[in-house]
């Protein structure tokens, strides 16, 4: 029972971080139906940027955070303006492949600008562990979970009530129709990329404050795919539920199955669950079911 509590708490906390990264993915999908394969690289480059500002340029933390956000905004704008806007109206798969190329490009930039290979961000959160019953968790995870929850609430409110947010949802639904309503679709895409980059940057800072900055962050980006798809690609709430769910399954599943099946089962469990979910809920947990007509 003690272990179960520990697994649950760790799983939930780690899952919230997955959810945050996944949120960045869902944002772009929701407004433009593009799967962003460069997500991991976005996380990586913003982590390094934060490192450059905080450690190399010795800015105070608050100024560093602001500059990271500004950088993310610029990055999002530039990516949309120079790689995706010329492709509006082209097959979606081409847009996806463009993000793949973009990923390589960003990775190259990281190596050119920061040939340091591995680094640590300054301590952003208090590190003393918190005891919950018999379980224990570091405050970093709690902070990370809290921040991703806050971002999620902000974004949901924005999409629910703000005019632009509603327009963004509409854009995902029917690009032609929304253009006919004189909504500037370019601005919508631009905005969604900016948001996605901000979310990725936040995720990057949170993750690298826990595990350091390495190129492994790219693979962390891939991890979000499973979260997003489990939650339903176009659903924020899906991400926020699926993230912790995957975290939980990983931890609890690994907790009780490792001794039976063997080490490393942790990485497999989310996928097995996803396949099962797909068989019963083909559009993810919270995805919108599309009614099709011929």
């Amino acid at each position: 029972m003690e272990q179960l509590l520990q697994y649950t708490i760790t799983g939930l906390a780690v899952g919230m971080i997955y959810a945050l990264i996944a949120l960045g993915f869902a944002l772009i999908w929701k407004s433009s139906r593009v799967a962003n394969l460069a997500l991991g690289q976005l996380v990586l480059i913003s982590s390094w940027f934060t490192y450059g500002i905080l450690v190399q340029a010795h800015f105070p933390v608050w100024a560093g955070m602001i500059m990271t956000i500004l950088f993310a905004i610029f990055l999002g704008w530039a990516i949309e303006r120079f790689t995706l806007r010329p492709l509006i109206g082209q097959p979606t798969l081409s847009l996806i492949a463009v993000t793949l190329g973009l990923g390589y490009f960003l990775e190259g930039i990281v190596i050119v600008v920061w040939p340091i290979s591995v680094a640590k961000l300054p301590v952003l959160f208090p590190q003393d562990p918190i005891n919950i019953g018999s379980a224990v968790i570091s405050q970093e995870y709690v902070w990370a979970a809290g921040i991703s929850l806050a971002l999620f609430i902000l974004l949901s409110l924005f999409f629910k009530f703000h005019k632009m947010g509603i327009a963004m949802r509409a854009a995902a639904d029917d690009q032609l129709a929304i253009q006919a309503c004189a909504v500037p679709i370019n601005r919508i895409f631009s905005l969604s990329w900016i948001f996605a980059c901000i979310v990725a940057a936040t995720g990057g800072v949170l993750i690298s404050s826990i595990g350091g900055i390495t190129s492994a962050l790219i693979e962390t980006g891939f991890k979000s795919f499973s979260v997003v798809i489990l939650g339903g690609m176009d659903s924020f709430i899906g991400c926020m539920v699926a993230g912790p769910l995957i975290g939980l399954c990983e931890n609890i599943g690994a907790g009780y199955l490792t001794s039976i099946i063997g080490p490393g089962i942790k990485d497999l469990i989310p996928f097995v669950i996803i396949i099962l979910v797909m068989l019963f809920k083909p559009y993810g947990l919270f995805g919108e079911e599309r009614i099709e007509r011929i």
Partner: protein, 419 residues
């Protein structure tokens, strides 16, 4: 129409670039711009500068290349022969690593070095088939077993484990019976090297492996694995991983109060300055590490030059022992060439095909006996008929107040027989 033209222009530029690199690639087979009479020895380097393992490939690769600069510019080459270095980035991509080997063969290299065990695994068969000898800097047991044309510079990940286990049994273990050990390993050849060694040799050495846990490079929390490990109540936790995941594991182990109390040991892939940077000063005396080289700044003959070059060319790697490994790899290469020149002729060695490779291996590699690598790591010996490890020695370190303090001199890692 404008778009059409831009596209054509870009296609033309790309094609031109293809042709250019192609021509350059072919041209480099013949020593361009050199007098034909002046034969140049070539050494290949296959380095993972980019990709997932860039955190290791960058310092090691730059260390290698800087050492060659030192050897060529300051020492005037090896026995008066300047050495040409041909290097390619593998991008930690198995396909590129494989074709790189062929490129290095075509370029007329005498032998080549590989940085990571991943790239080496990809290059292994191509090199072995052709008899093209290779020196692997960070290797895993699968590369040198069964012995063929791949040599490893340092003890492999499995040897780390064996050496530490021996040390533990002799110096730390007080209780009766066998100590219980848990492995927390990375799910790639770095970690599996430890697993494979433990499977073969645990019983002989006298430890019980109570549980094996795996993690990925991306891990954010290993609390769950450590919870399971805690349940088994082992005496030792051996971590076979790279710095970032190792620091996560250590952090979580502190939270779960596994440390202080349990002995923790890290394999050499994860036991660098980066580990201490990442985990902070909180690491206490319970953390041991195995590393096959001396510490940065130790008083050994080769240290001053390396420090000087590193500060001059790549100051960001000062204090990084990976750089030291790369640097010493090139020193060993130079020694191999020295032996080869002594026992064979320049004509044979520069002929650039299987004759040269054979000479390089038999007259070069195999003749290296007890080379001290200017004190940077354990003595290198490639003359053993089956044991393909150059240096067989590691040092056991302990982390004390954020410093890696050596506890031992060179400790020999026992040769483990696989299968």
């Amino acid at each position: 129409m404008k778009k059409h033209r831009t596209f054509t222009a870009i296609i033309l530029v790309t094609v031109a670039a293809f042709v250019f690199t192609f021509a350059a690639g072919c041209a480099s087979q013949t020593p361009a711009g050199k007098l034909d009479s002046q034969k140049q020895l070539k050494i290949g380097c296959s380095i993972c500068f980019t990709g997932t393992a860039a955190e290791k490939g960058q310092p090691i690769g730059q260390g290698e290349l800087d050492a060659w600069k030192y050897i060529n510019d300051e020492l005037g080459g090896v026995d008066g022969n300047k050495i040409e270095i041909v290097w390619y980035d593998t991008g930690y991509n198995a396909a590129i690593a494989t074709t790189n080997v062929k490129k290095l063969m075509d370029d007329g290299c005498l032998f080549f070095t590989i940085v990571s065990s991943y790239d080496a695994t990809a290059s292994k068969e191509a090199a072995n088939k052709a008899g093209f000898p290779a020196l692997v800097i960070f290797s895993s047991p699968s590369l040198t077993n069964p012995p063929a044309h791949i040599y490893s510079q340092l003890p492999d990940y499995g040897d780390d484990w064996a050496a530490f286990t021996n040390y533990y049994l002799k110096n730390i273990w007080k209780g009766p019976g066998k100590p219980k050990m848990a492995l927390e390993i990375l799910s790639n050849s770095t970690g599996y090297g430890v697993r494979d060694a433990a499977k073969v040799a645990a019983a002989d050495l006298g430890v019980d492996i109570v549980t094996i846990e795996e993690h990925k490079t991306t891990t954010l929390s290993e609390t769950d694995a450590l919870t399971r490990i805690k349940e088994k109540n082992p005496d030792i936790l051996f971590i076979g991983s790279t710095p970032a995941p190792t620091s996560v594991i250590l952090k979580n182990a502190y939270q779960l109060k596994l440390i202080p109390g349990m002995t923790v040991a890290c394999g050499h892939a994860g036991f660098t300055k980066a580990l201490i940077d990442l985990s902070g000063k909180q690491i206490s005396n319970d953390v041991y590490g195995v590393f096959p080289t001396v510490n940065w700044g130790d008083n050994v003959p080769g240290m001053a030059k390396m420090d000087e070059y590193c500060k001059k060319l790549h100051p960001q790697y000062v204090g990084n022992n990976d750089y030291l490994c790369g640097w010493s790899a090139s020193l060993i290469n130079a020694e191999i060439i020295r032996q080869a020149l002594k026992n064979s002729t320049l004509d044979v060695l520069t002929s650039g095909d299987s004759v040269a490779w054979k000479a390089g291996e038999e007259k070069g590699f195999r003749m290296v006996k007890g080379y001290d690598v200017e004190g940077l790591h354990g003595p290198v010996d490639f003359s053993d008929p089956v044991d393909r490890r150059g240096s067989k020695s590691v040092k056991i370190f302990q982390i004390q107040q954020g410093e890696m303090v050596p506890l031992t001199g060179w400790v020999d890692a026992p040769y483990i027989k696989y299968e």
